[in-house]
Symmetry: C2
Subunit: 397 residues, 2 copies
């Protein structure tokens, strides 16, 4: 089978890399907790796996006594409902596809091993990349063709968007069983190659309400969420899709910021209220609006998820000036090399005029580090056998 390494007659293995995605139309709220059917459509940018990715090796072994999973070097229980749902759906699809030609190995147990190349502290919804990677690997191993985003969705809602590269919509669908709640690509990354993304990792990582619990509380208690999911998001999906297709950065940025703010508004409207944005987050918000005011158009956008980290969007042409701004606003005690990670940090200069207009009050070490990246492609097989995370016995190397 393509992309699958046959170690021996009793052991097959494949390895996949999968990307992180950042939503610009936010997913917040489910209409079905078990099936993970979202209350509204969402839209995200898939980030390059060059800087941020999950890598997963899955193996089918004749001698494996049971399914096993290792995450970031540590064995974890396999009986979590979400993982079981993914395994079940994959095996069901495999049996259906190979109904007349079921290979002997279809009922063997599976070993799974996954690592992220970014610290969990980055708060980057590692479960999205992780489940996308796992489901894509299993799809390759079982030779399943076609869309797998609906299966990735069962692992972690936003994982379904990591199944495609570029600009990706996750439609909530209409079928009560969730069968049409899947992701589809709006545009490939090459459609808008100038798009850049900077992730600002905040220092004050505190224990937050998990996004699952948070969105359940919002759905149960917010009196504004229904207006959002029934009226506001459908219009914004159209407007955002157009902004992307027209490469209209000003509009893209406006909707992105309004969406981020509304996510946190419905969190605040929940009971008890949920708060993710910290003082450092607000420093970023104010900086971005002030910069856009100076520019007379939106050159920069922020987005916050269920944590204090900021994600910034901008075009390549604005990168040097924005990096200069960030360097000034968030001075760091670590070296410049440790602070700016990812793509080369070509730091420009702030004009005297900009510097005076911004009137920044620098906040030392409010931001721990920044990752500069771009929009990239979806999950991809890693064909180098050396890259497998499992050894020839099917255990972590």
């Amino acid at each position: 089978m393509e992309h699958v390494t046959k170690i021996n007659d009793g052991l097959y293995m494949t390895t996949t890399k999968a990307p992180v995605n950042i939503a610009v139309i936010k997913y917040w709220g489910k209409t079905n907790e078990d099936l993970i059917i979202p209350a509204n459509d969402s839209l995200s940018l898939t980030l390059s796996t060059e800087h941020l990715c999950a890598t997963t090796t899955v193996a089918l072994g004749k001698k494996f006594k049971e399914d096993k999973i290792w995450l970031n070097g540590k064995e974890e229980p396999v009986h979590s409902p979400r993982l079981q749902n993914c395994l079940h759906e994959i095996r069901k699809r495999s049996r259906y596809l190979h109904a007349h030609d079921l290979p002997e190995c279809a009922d063997w147990n599976i070993h799974m091993c996954s690592v992220n190349n970014f610290p969990t502290s980055a708060g980057l919804a590692s479960s999205a990349a992780g489940y996308a990677c796992l489901v894509q690997s299993l799809g390759t191993l079982f030779h399943i063709e076609g869309d797998l985003s609906g299966i990735a969705r069962r692992g972690s809602g936003s994982a379904c968007r990591s199944m495609y590269g570029g600009f990706v919509a996750w439609v909530k669908g209409t079928d009560p069983d969730g069968s049409d709640s899947v992701a589809r690509q709006i545009a490939a990354s090459v459609h808008w190659p100038q798009m850049r993304v900077i992730i600002l990792v905040a220092s004050d990582a505190k224990k937050d309400t998990s996004s699952s619990h948070g969105m359940a509380r919002t759905m149960e208690t917010s009196s504004l969420i229904q207006e959002r999911v029934t009226r506001i998001v459908p219009q914004r999906m159209k407007d955002m899709t157009n902004a992307i297709l027209n490469r209209d950065f000003n509009k893209f940025a406006e909707i992105t910021m309004k969406e981020s703010n509304q996510l946190h508004a419905v969190c605040l409207d929940s009971y008890p209220p949920i708060r993710y944005m910290t003082s450092a987050s607000w420093k970023v918000v104010n900086l971005v609006h002030r910069y856009n005011q100076f520019c007379g158009t939106n050159k920069l956008a922020y987005s916050f998820d269920a944590g204090p980290n900021a994600c910034l969007f901008l075009l390549e042409e604005s990168l040097p000036e924005v990096l200069a701004l960030l360097e000034y606003a968030f001075p760091t005690s670590t070296s410049k090399e440790d602070f700016f990670r990812g793509r080369p940090a070509v730091i420009g200069k702030m004009s005297q005029e900009l510097s005076e207009y911004m009137a920044i009050n620098p906040q030392r070490d409010a931001i721990k580090f920044a990752i500069i990246t771009n929009v990239g492609h979806g999950p991809e097989p890693v064909d180098d056998p050396e890259a497998h995370l499992l050894d020839v016995h099917g255990y972590p190397k």
Copy 2:
């Protein structure tokens, strides 16, 4: 004329005290900026003038060359549109009432002098008490009977609610000229005499978006505000009125907190977003919810307006325990006498169980001081001639 001191044939004078009010159904957004017609009904508690009040003396002088006003000891321009609107409406009403019997003094100029007995730093919407006091004084001076809340509204929207004591509704009305956008009493303070109010004055008083600008921005840019004003508030007005009439503190507290949170949610949904709640505010929010969880019912409620200060509501029976909690959570570098102001601070003890459950991380000096007070009556004349703020020539003493 009753409550008016005749200094001589050419100088009449009267003095009034008027209360502060705290909204529990929030006023946020106007449908007419000039007439100050609110986008939704609101409901407030009038606080005792014993601890917080404005005092205003107004005088009609035959020899006064022009209208003049002094606020907290400083002469201010009289041509502000809001002040002019109030003066104009009062004079119009006076002429109408005395059409067949216009006294000579009706066209004399007016001197006005107003002071607050609380620091502006308390961020307590001093304009509400101030305009209520001014309009009530002018009403007395011109011997105008009947409701004056519609005139106070022209000075500062929320001032109309300070025209009555106890629990007060401000109905938005339906007349495009605002004639039925007035306040009315839901219940007098004696209806629920156990109600207590604690104002926590936060230390980090920063320059905020003024409430006028903030609500205009929300009306223009928030996509959630219409749902709030057309559907959510009307239901909450009914529920809150019932909670007050039934003295149902648990429900009163729940709606109060949800209202406060929704005000700040629509601020966050504005573009650019508006933020009033600081880290100190959130300390209070978390403390209150945790305490209520411990109690198994809502014993305490918070409310935040366009600034970081918290207003707490509770019943007399909970006061000692809550003061102990506040003293523990917000240790102060000032003396206890300077910290707790207003009503006697009978500080109780926290049980070991409560203390363990709360797991408070104390924040020294996050709160500057606290004012303990209760629900009180509306504006009242001060008949002691010694209390006049203007001398026998009509100038500040």
